[in-house]
Subunit: 287 residues, 2 copies
């Protein structure tokens, strides 16, 4: 177990916690209550230089602008056309902007039609730096951690600030996690004419920050026993978990080194004694 | 398998469908796609003379009126005090009335505190006619059907128009269904001060009628392969399922005989060729 983790405090802390809650005694937790939740981007797979879903979205936005060039005068197409990456990132990640900016990008089609578009993306797209298909971007040590938890009767969920229905298309293939165990932000859907259609809205709150415990509760009826994230958006999920693991991206050679967007989480980890996994120190291999 | 089902067309249709989708061949469906969804009230357990949750709610409302008798001049306490059962039923089941009438009945407390109240109810309440604890009100043939599906690698979910967080407290005990496989209508929650609190809102749409396919999609990312219900509120769920089973309450001796609220579903079943289980004819035993 955890063959791709180097021996050390982090690996020991994980193994010791799993042993404690699965061995008869004071710390024992029944299998039904063994909920584990993992953030996706930057936790289970690479999120740099861009979120995988951002690549998917910008391709779709470019296609829409090609179909109707007048769109380039409006957001979010304007930011994309102007190569204003800062503004574009805002438009694609802030809940307040998301519905207005991309609400109708995939609205009005069936959930199956959306799935086909996602599948077509994953069948062809490759990571712009590493040059491999995105579904191969899962961190091997994290896959081993998922296996370890499942082998100890944990119910393992993804809880992503990104798009639930996007990730579900490849969650089984990339992480061995079935669709019904993927929690995340999502567009609204409706039932009509015998089918399920995407609509323009966004399920609120989005599954980021304080929205993560809300989505986890809705989906599982429990708080996590084990949670793992890598950014400020994971803080609240880590706060309500019994064991909290924060992935630190500090390996510029084998992946990317950045604390941007994780400063608060790293500070809280130090303050509350969460376990921090250094990718440089703790991962024997990355991909 | 299905020992408490009498031999006949219904039992044969169920067994034949399960065999077809789990045996290599043209009809085979991979385990990941074997989603089964069951309505709860009137499908998995008895819903007469009242919904189990209605008993829970009226006890709470009576308690609140005892604590503050001025509440009896306002709804829903007034209807309860006046014994106006028709109005009370409206107030407790219509989505448009629910938030206004009971939004603050359990708001402001943690999800754990709510669970304790539900647990206390189930520990003491008994069915007003049958005289047994509510958790013993599951229909034995239905429990066997759940077992049959699980034994064939189906992912078995409850999808209830009633309260998700209410049912989850006893879903494992009463039906062998873990909390994260209970889908249903629910009050909103929020994260604050390190815990998850109930708030006054209602997650929309409620998981009834066209809301069922929406909730099932949100939770599982799929349409059901097998669905089972008993009322008009289950029609849309049965429409999107490959195999659709409608429970018909026609056994006045062993349970209750009523078509009220199921007229449209029974008509659609006849029209579309859904399988209808007659409790009188197909159930060798009920409880």
């Amino acid at each position: 177990m955890l063959e791709s983790w180097n021996d050390g405090e982090t690996k020991t802390a994980i193994l010791e916690f799993v042993r404690a809650v699965t061995t008869p005694g004071d710390s024992f937790v029944p299998p039904a209550e063994r909920i584990a939740t993992f953030d996706n981007d930057g936790t289970l797979w690479c999120e740099k230089p861009n979120y995988v879903q951002a690549d998917f979205l910008t391709r779709r936005l470019n296609q829409m602008a090609d179909d109707d060039p007048t769109r380039r005068t409006r957001q979010p197409w304007k930011a994309l056309y102007d190569r204003d990456h800062t503004r574009l990132a805002q438009l694609l990640t802030r809940a307040s902007d998301l519905t207005a900016s991309i609400g109708d990008v995939f609205a009005g089609i069936t959930t199956e039609a959306f799935e086909e578009k996602v599948r077509a993306f994953f069948d062809t797209a490759v990571h712009p730096v590493l040059g491999v298909p995105y579904v191969q971007l899962a961190y091997v040590p994290m896959l081993e951690l998922l296996d370890l938890l499942r082998a100890h009767d944990f119910h393992v969920f993804i809880c992503s600030g990104g798009g639930r229905d996007f990730i579900r298309v490849i969650s089984e293939e990339a992480f061995g996690i079935p669709r019904d165990r993927v929690i995340g932000s999502a567009g609204t859907v409706e039932y009509r004419d015998g089918d399920v259609y995407r609509t323009k809205g966004l399920e609120l709150p989005i599954a980021e920050g304080p929205g993560k415990p809300v989505h986890i509760w809705r989906h599982t009826g429990r708080k996590p026993l084990f949670a793992c994230g890598n950014s400020n958006g994971d803080q609240e999920m880590l706060e309500i978990s019994a064991f909290s693991l924060l992935i630190h991206h500090d390996d510029a050679e084998r992946e990317f080194a950045y604390d941007d967007g994780a400063e608060k989480a790293l500070a809280e980890a130090a303050e509350l004694g969460w376990t921090v996994a250094s990718m440089r120190r703790d991962f024997a291999r990355v991909f």
